[in-house]
Symmetry: C2
Subunit: 135 residues, 2 copies
Amino acid sequence: MSYSRHQLIALLRKRGIAPTHQRLEIANVLFSRGEHLAADQILTLVNERHAETSKATVYNTLNLFRDCGLIREVIVDPKRVFYDPNTEPHHHLYNVDTSEITDISADDLVVSGMPELPPGMVTEGVDIVVRIRAL
Amino acid sequence: MSYSRHQLIALLRKRGIAPTHQRLEIANVLFSRGEHLAADQILTLVNERHAETSKATVYNTLNLFRDCGLIREVIVDPKRVFYDPNTEPHHHLYNVDTSEITDISADDLVVSGMPELPPGMVTEGVDIVVRIRAL
DNA sequence: GCCAAAGATTGGACTTTGTCTAATCCGGGC
DNA sequence: GCCCGGATTAGACAAAGTCCAATCTTTGGC
Ligand SMILES: [Mn+2]
Ligand SMILES: [Mn+2]
Ligand SMILES: [Zn+2]
Ligand SMILES: [Zn+2]
């Protein structure tokens, strides 16, 4: 689950992303933890030891990683976007009390009866969110 | 699809909501149109003829309606919450280009292989979003 | 119908998440 | 070592939503 510096560099290079110090820090937080994190959590984590990455860079980098297909967004909380280092098709369990997100394998959860799309439209993805809470 | 004034009053009364003028206007926009609308669209629609409802009231009212189970939120767009007058279990087709939302009947779309929940947790709902785009 | 109490509405300040910009910084290639 | 294009940055800005204290409406008891 932990990535070495040059594994991270390889990950970025593979997508044509120049591996700067800040980008590597952000990639490390995302990939080594393997969690679903919001931008402000990433900002905090990346500056934990010693501040060196700005808010603007965190947002720039997350948008870049997303556009390059390195990570994906998870839209479950109206207050903030979560970023997911797992880009394989899969679904989510969302704890509405704690805002914790857990993966559900796409093999386990199967949807049937997909409607036919209006002509000229293509499916970009199917997201299933199981909202759970205590009690 | 259009609701009379006293049908709307009955809808609110059934949930214990006092039917004020502003609440009836907002309920009318939601239920008579039967669309998925964001708060600012509702604010515009409700003040189309003659301004009489404030932003604060629109938000207060949508939160109240949601808490009373009269409407539900649809979380698909990181920029804004959409409000859905249909509280029956159902799913959504989301056009990522236009932000248009269309219903998919829960009878058509079926999920199997729901994971067992962590002990002490209950499912609050299962939301499926099919993201589509042109081309 | 009238009146007070309870509840609803309001403008505007405030918060939060995210974007934009123009200035500076940096590092890989020569 | 220098250069230059790309990356980073502080801080201004924008949009969605919340909060507050003052004011206005609704409502139920008479
Ligand atoms: Mn560091
Ligand atoms: Mn009116
Ligand atoms: Zn995930
Ligand atoms: Zn719907």
